[in-house]
């Protein structure tokens, strides 16, 4: 390009872009190597990236709305009794499949349990699965991927082949096989499974961004000046590589919640005494003709929750990737 054509473009070139697509499904994730920073100094760059992003986010209605929704979801997953006084497991078969009535705004499920209470308590399951799985995936993935990208060599080759192996397994299918033997009704087998199959995605992204960060001129300069490995990793590479990981992890959180519900719907995720939207939707699917309310409320709650996390991730991505304003 001859001279910056537009001031807008000149401004946007100043920030580094972690262009990571919203591609989340296993085996379909398209990795884009983030572009390096252009023309900005080493010291100012990470800070200005984050403060720019924060300034953007505060003005973005999508970010504000999704943050508020998530805050609400987290609060009621910790204290569900704040808005639901009943017991999600209390069943009265006389009430089975009944519609809305006073005190029971969402009606009753096939076993005569209060749908509203179950929807509220289901939040806890979804949020727990989403948060724990994402933390596990992000830590394991960025650790393995980051080290592979930084040190390269045989460790990198093995990791690359290993991620290929995991990408070859369709998620839902893997879940069916892996979880069908589990009889526990806690969330932990599902969380464990998601971490097992989810880490390669983050590992690939972390590896890619560490390699890009490593090739930046100022990192090369630091190396030439004799900076130690640990100092380079902490001071120069991590701040650059972490943005794409955060973006992908936030969006992934939403899809993990959706995955838990899908597995529970198929009967292998959480099992009955547990309260999960997926289980409720599965049970309701058989009565779709006569009592669609049993399906629609948990499905709506699920969709809103997943949407909130995906929108949050999307907004953060836009803020951190100024190339595409």
């Amino acid at each position: 390009m001859p001279e910056p054509q537009t001031p807008d473009e000149a401004i946007s070139q100043a920030g580094a872009g972690g262009a990571t697509d919203l591609a989340m499904e296993e085996g379909t994730s398209l990795e884009k190597t983030p572009g390096g920073p252009e023309g900005t100094g080493p010291a100012g760059k990470p800070r200005s990236l984050w403060s720019d992003a924060w300034r953007d986010l505060r003005r973005n209605p999508v970010f504000i709305i999704s943050s508020l929704v998530i805050l609400f979801l987290v609060i009621i997953s910790i204290w569900p009794s704040l808005i639901a006084s009943g017991d999600p497991l209390q069943a009265n078969l006389d009430d089975a499949q009944k519609g809305s009535e006073p005190g029971h705004p969402f009606g009753f499920d096939p076993q005569g349990r209060d749908v509203y209470t179950r929807v509220v308590y289901g939040t806890r399951t979804s949020v727990t699965v989403g948060v724990c799985a994402t933390l596990g995936v992000a830590l394991l993935g960025s650790l393995l991927g980051g080290l592979a990208g930084f040190f390269g060599g045989w460790w990198d080759s093995i990791l690359s082949r290993l991620t290929d192996v995991f990408f070859g397994i369709p998620v839902v299918l893997g879940g069916l096989v892996f979880l069908s033997v589990v009889t526990s009704s806690t969330v932990w087998p599902v969380v464990g499974f998601i971490i097992l199959l989810g880490w390669p995605q983050i590992a690939r992204i972390a590896r890619g961004s560490v390699i890009t960060a490593k090739q930046n001129d100022y990192v090369q300069a630091a190396r030439a000046l004799g900076a130690s490995n640990s100092r380079m990793l902490l001071r120069h590479i991590t701040p650059n590589a972490i943005a794409p990981v955060i973006v992908v992890a936030t969006i992934a959180l939403g899809t993990y919640i959706s995955l838990e519900a899908t597995l529970s719907f198929l009967g292998v995720g959480l099992k009955d005494p547990a309260v999960s939207w997926g289980i409720d939707i599965s049970a309701a699917a058989n009565y779709i003709r006569n009592a669609p309310h049993m399906l629609l409320w948990p499905a709506g709650a699920l969709a809103i929750t997943v949407l909130a996390f995906i929108m949050l991730g999307d907004a953060v991505r836009d803020a951190l990737d100024p190339k595409l304003r």
Binding site: R161, G168, I169, P170, L173, S180, I288
Partner: protein, 307 residues
């Protein structure tokens, strides 16, 4: 080119064995492989022991894996829970799932790319914002919810489609299930195309094309689209494998007796040979799709050289 293909094929070998071994181990951990072999009844202990040694199940797992793989390469995929050959199941299941996948891919290409181009060229306008929010909603609503809702509305309430399909469904019966299967990927294709178009629209060569005095239509179709579609084609290509493996949910909702249905039955009945056999084929499809995408890349982008 030939050398590149050979190298890629060699690279695939460890991935193929790694993936199948992983599934084989999972299935073995999962349960008793002979449980399904006596039909729906429980096997009596004597028969069970006999079957065990007959199938080599008393040997260590790695030996079992090698034997199984050996049989696979001679075309012997074993027996399903109902006594049918797994290969026979495949012969009926795969054509159905392939049909379903084709419908889904066509939706991705036609709807996804068109929406992506329209929004990419009108970034920031109302059309763009609307479609963008819609794609997020589609991504956020899990496939099984989308499927159930469409089934409820189109099938039950309005009676436009049959809620479930016939045993050997035709393409038009698979339209709605195909759309459901495609939905999430379709949203990704839209977003990916949009991003790619928007990025490339700023490229210098597009400015050159405008400076040459080409009509807008020609600038978009011949210069912009060709370059922008490279990542999209990659996505759609690798998606083929993912769609076939992910069809379980869709097939279950619409009661389609394809690969997903057979796998689901295999898992429920703890029939390891069905599960491992089907998964092996799916892994092969996935690897082949990836290879084809890589080669397609060279056709689409002359800058890429395979040495």
């Amino acid at each position: 080119m030939g050398r590149y293909v050979i190298r890629r094929l060699l690279q695939m070998i460890p991935v193929f064995f790694g993936t199948t071994l992983l599934i084989f181990l999972m299935v073995n951990v999962m349960g008793d492989p002979i449980a399904g072999l006596c039909g729906d009844r429980q096997c009596d202990p004597a028969t069970a022991a006999q079957l065990r040694s007959e199938f080599g199940l008393d040997k260590p797992v790695w030996q079992q894996y090698l034997t199984y793989m050996g049989n696979l390469f001679t075309g012997d995929f074993g027996t399903a829970f109902n006594g049918q050959k797994v290969t026979e199941l495949m012969a009926t299941a795969f054509p159905i799932t392939i049909r379903l996948t084709i419908v889904a891919i066509v939706f991705e290409i036609v709807i996804g790319i068109s929406l992506g181009v329209v929004t990419g060229l009108r970034r920031g306008r109302p059309v763009d914002t609307t479609v963008l929010i819609l794609t997020l909603v589609v991504i956020a609503v899990p496939t099984f919810v989308t499927g159930l809702l469409l089934q409820l509305l189109l099938g039950v309430k309005w009676g436009i489609i049959k809620p479930s399909v016939s045993p050997d469904p035709t393409f038009d019966e698979l339209l709605v299930p195909g759309l459901v299967l495609a939905s999430v990927s379709l949203a990704y294709v839209t977003r990916l195309t949009r991003t790619s178009i928007a990025e490339n629209a700023r490229a210098d060569y597009v400015r050159t094309a405008v400076a040459k005095g080409l009509p807008r239509r020609r600038v978009v179709v011949r210069h912009l689209l060709r370059n922008s579609l490279i990542p999209v084609v990659t996505f759609i290509g690798t998606d083929v494998g993912a769609l076939m493996g992910g069809a379980i949910v869709t097939e279950r909702i619409f009661n389609i007796h394809g690969v997903g249905y057979q796998l689901y039955q295999g898992i429920l009945r703890q029939n390891s040979q069905t599960v491992v056999g089907f998964v092996t084929i799916l892994v092969l499809v996935f690897l082949a799709a990836n290879l084809i995408v890589d080669l397609l890349y060279a056709v689409l982008d002359p800058r890429i050289r395979y040495a």
